[in-house]
Subunit: 227 residues, 2 copies
DNA sequence: GGAATGCTTCGGTTACGATCGAACTATGAA
DNA sequence: TTCATAGTTCGATCGTAACCGAAGCATTCC
């Protein structure tokens, strides 16, 4: 029949939607854990685990153990290149991904990313905080301004306590759905906790989706809404 | 979950063994009929027909009717590029398809790639042309030098005629088996034709393998051999 | 130590799609 | 016209693999 390497095996690996999601999620170079990738892929943890071992066996991704977590990266630049070129093909063909899932619409609005707020509300809050001078961007970094400290204290956050922790106070995090940054770091986490305590939002168990209460919608729009 | 182009659909198309066989068979740029492709893929005609329409719908291949035959080509160079890079991945991973056919060894030495010479002889010739100053690389591009024009004319190639055509004179093409570049473009094509006319080589029908005559081996080594 | 978290393995279900043969259409040859 | 070749469509069969939940390890936290 034909010579040449066996394309189909590798292509079939990329060809499963869940695995394609996993690979795409790894495209930005970050290392993600199995659980995070399961979320990204939209499948259960056990399913994702199976996918991950297949991908690792084919050396498309590289696992790395760290404590009780297992982090995954794309294996090398060549793999990233192949994915990139596949994306190019797919994009040109106009087959943009249609993502059907019941939780998806809600997730687009508000969801948990690690421990902080992501989704439309996340980026909205972030840009508002920038506009109000609470945060200040400096290249890839983001920092709290002097007046920002007052704002956060008034919001109900104990900055001193946060700064004792070893995680950075402010970090920016790229949002996959919005393609814009939102606030991460211990401050981002504290703000989400704070909004939960205020009764603005509540996390749904077993999902990354965040439910926003009626009162929360009003208060959030009042404080972070666009003018 | 994430936005972005839908990789998985296209990858899944390539991921089926029968379809992968079809695509690989088309890699050399020849147009093949549905029956021929069914044969290559090792499936029945009806099955192949289904595969072909899926591939065509995704614009990975381009159908062309001619009489009661239907010819298929790869849609464009981008598709070929994706397949090449997938082959590269698969080759590095060591998942070479075990195809111990008699022609395989020969293919490694010399074969047709879209109309020009590929395989060991292809890359050997290319690097020699570079070393002799006939060709000059400029980033990803490759061009014919002034002295190179004399060389080609002496070789028996009508450069003026080639330059009237709309395909680029010189292009470099990555070889999956050698993982090095060889000469493509209308010049690459003309050189192969020329060497056939000189009686150095002859294409075997129904295969990409190129047979090198005794006289051709001597002449080729004399002109393009390593010192 | 126990509790909690992160991941893997196993068993059983389910669904999708690859496959074939047969019937059907279209084009060309005799 | 009739026959032959090339391809498509249809219906039915059959395997494979994706999926989940539950149970099992492993690691860290308290």
């Amino acid at each position: 029949m034909k010579e040449g390497p066996d394309i189909s095996h590798i292509a079939a690996l990329i060809g499963d939607p869940a695995r394609a999601n996993i690979l795409t999620a790894l495209m930005d170079g970050r290392a993600l854990t199995a659980s995070e990738l399961a979320e990204e892929a939209g499948v259960g943890l056990s399913t994702a685990s199976g996918h991950l071992s297949k991908l690792a066996e084919a050396e498309l991704i590289a696992p790395r153990k760290s404590g009780r977590h297992k982090y995954f990266n794309l294996a090398d630049a060549e793999v990233a290149g192949v994915l990139e070129s596949l994306m190019g093909l797919a994009a040109r063909r106009g087959t943009t991904r249609v993502r059907t899932g019941p939780r998806d619409a809600q997730m687009q609005v508000a969801r948990v990313c690690y421990n902080h707020l992501a989704g439309q509300l996340g980026v909205q809050m972030y840009s508002k905080l920038l506009a109000q001078g609470v945060l200040m961007e400096d290249g890839e970094d983001v920092a709290l301004t002097a007046s920002g400290r007052d704002f956060m204290t008034a919001f109900g956050i104990d900055l001193d306590a946060l700064e004792k922790g070893r995680t950075r106070l402010c970090r920016s995090c790229l949002d996959w759905s919005e393609r814009r940054t939102h606030l991460a770091g211990s401050l981002g986490r504290a703000m989400l906790t704070c909004m939960e305590q205020k009764g603005w939002m509540s996390r749904e168990t077993g999902s990354r989706a965040i439910h926003v209460t009626k009162a929360g919608q009003v208060a959030f729009a009042d404080m972070f809404g666009v003018d």
